[in-house]
Symmetry: C2
């Protein structure tokens, strides 16, 4: 029997109370600042947010309920007809914890927090319609490889953890770092999907310097820096042969793969023309499996792309509608004008799916929910 | 009467003899190095090519006939059934000439060289089939604004110059530099299409550092750095309101716009959510015209994207097949194996067009040639 046709959001973030406690304990990015004036606390997660020329109580963004409240998450879901959310810790996860023991401890605490919130929420009746929560866990990457593997195994045993969220830096050297191979192996072995998400963007120089970036508000870092960061991270994994060695590693890429669906042809063409792979060093032979095959076998794409042009490219690159999954990026990109309106960032993505594959079509139902239930092994 | 159905290549480079003479006169990037051993000269155009750990006669790439020979260009055209080439000076054009007089002088010399070669070549019979050359001119950007405007006007009066090729740095501060406004104005007034082309890529740090870049051969800088550079340049122009002020400025973007067709939705969403535009500084109100409108009114895209997924996104972003133009990127990406085979980099783009809009369809004929004849005002 086909799974029910529900709407599942695979790209929706939260800073659970355990994580807020961690950020409150810090004075450097990422941190939460509580103004002595009693004004709303500030969430300062990007290096660019912590601008010393601005008063501290204006840096970053207000830490309003949308970031940490589960009631706010459920209200958002109901407002947009979302039945299931697979929440993930928002960036920058636990990347900044350098102490192995501390990282391992916080990972257990945060992941247990997520599991418990989902368990408790799913046991309750939230009124009309299905309203269920699942989660991607965070890994203590700077802990020992054994500790990370242990946390992967532990999370696999939890009921509501359905994968892992990860940034693009790994242990600080990117995702082609050979030191990550035991992690890929453990993730593959445990069939834990990796939700790959950007956070670091590109250096200001890539955009022409700090001043140009600031003039854009957050447009250049968010609209371009984020997707380019994801593309570079996956391209490096591809070039280093990670997908050759871990043929059944499954990754869900944020923001429809950054730019991967559009650039895959150019990437493959450049690889095919690369004399260096045959001559002197580098990654020697280059990747064996082609990038189009990687897109069909290792990669899933979310549908957070804000237009049917991009969505169709994501579907095309995946060679089917079975590998593209609806998401919202909640609680980021809230409405500018009124608190209770539907979020344009979300309705734009609904509209893109309807325009891309047809309102109410089987393909739309797959993208909106059925794919996620199947791929993330969610049994309601 | 509809223009004839010919194949026109709008993305095809050359280093004409005048430009080779300029590069031979230099000892720093970009330059041509003639090994005292009598081995083939080397063309060293990228900073990363001038690696001091390698012998000078192995740096960059061999300056073979494909880069500067017009016979080689015509042979390439015949091999691939191309009837018309709109050649452009290959990167880095004249960007590196800091002296205003020197820049203006070289621009005149190079553009006259291109005009003369086209005139002479088009007057001759090259055997079976149409084989005609036109060119994009290069601008002496570091010359005075008046001198640049004068060169634009002068080129407009030449018979075979059909537009301008430009890199992404302008006067060194990017294409949103207010100092470029007289140039945009002059280009708009003279109806000279700007062929925007990358050269500088992204800083090595964007890819994880020099060593990671080197391991990829040229894949990371060429497959990702180039298209991201183009996307950033156009996004900055868009955010700064250049397309609002110069509503009929026409730009042809290399490599199908970098990543613009795929990211346009995300760019517009970020702009729409940007509080900074309404609050404190930056570009104040942000752009007026939306990015999708810019794509339909100011921008043309070449079809150098190596796959039908990307091509369809380019067509979709343009809202029609009328704004996408065939190109090859010759003489870059030659075949690895044999000198006389058809170039896979070209046949991949032919295949993408056939798969994307149908082999022999009216849309394919538009993309393959008719659009270019119309847009660049080429009357054979």
């Amino acid at each position: 029997m086909a799974p029910p046709s529900l709407i599942v959001d695979v790209h929706t973030h939260v800073y659970p109370s355990s994580y807020i406690a961690l950020l409150r304990s810090r004075k450097t990015v990422p941190y939460v600042y509580d103004p002595p004036s009693g004004a709303d606390p500030r969430l300062i997660i990007l290096a660019t947010d912590d601008d010393p020329s601005r008063p501290q109580e204006l840096r970053g963004r207000p830490l309003d309920a949308a970031y940490s409240s589960w009631d706010a998450k459920r209200s958002f879901m109901k407002l947009h007809g979302i039945n299931v959310s697979v929440v993930s810790l928002a960036n920058p996860w636990l990347d900044f914890l350098e102490d192995p023991e501390e990282a391992a401890g916080w990972a257990r605490r945060v992941n247990d927090d997520l599991e418990e919130v989902c368990r408790e929420s799913n046991a309750r009746n939230h009124g009309e319609g299905v309203c269920k929560l699942y989660a991607f866990a965070a890994l203590p990457l700077k802990a020992s490889s054994e500790a990370v593997e242990a946390e992967i195994g532990r999370c696999k045993g939890l009921n509501y953890i359905k994968g892992i969220i990860m940034g693009t830096t790994g242990l600080g050297k990117g995702l082609d770092d050979p030191a990550l191979e035991p992690i890929w192996n453990a993730l593959q072995k445990n069939k834990m999907t990796v939700f790959l998400h950007p956070h670091y963007g590109l250096p200001d120089e890539a955009f022409g310097g700090k001043e140009i970036v600031a003039q854009s508000g957050h447009v250049l870092p968010l609209a371009l820096g984020f997707p380019l960061e994801t593309t570079i991270a996956v391209a490096r994994m591809f070039l280093a042969g990670v997908f050759d060695r871990y043929g059944s590693l499954e990754m869900l890429l944020a923001h429809s793969g950054g730019t991967l669906p559009f650039l895959a042809g150019r990437i493959q063409s450049c690889v095919d023309h690369e004399r260096e792979f045959k001559q002197n060093g580098g990654h020697k032979q280059g990747p064996v499996k082609g990038i189009w095959d990687v897109l069909k076998t290792n990669i899933y794409l979310d549908a957070v792309i804000y237009g049917d042009i991009g969505l169709k490219a994501a579907i095309g690159a995946s060679k089917s509608t079975d590998r593209v999954l609806f998401g919202t990026d909640h609680p980021f990109f809230p409405p500018l004008h009124s608190a209770d309106e539907k979020w344009p960032s979300v309705t734009t993505n609904y509209a893109a799916i309807n325009a891309g594959v047809g309102d109410g079509s089987e393909e739309a139902k797959d993208i909106l929910g059925r794919n996620a239930l199947k791929i993330l092994d969610i049994d309601l």
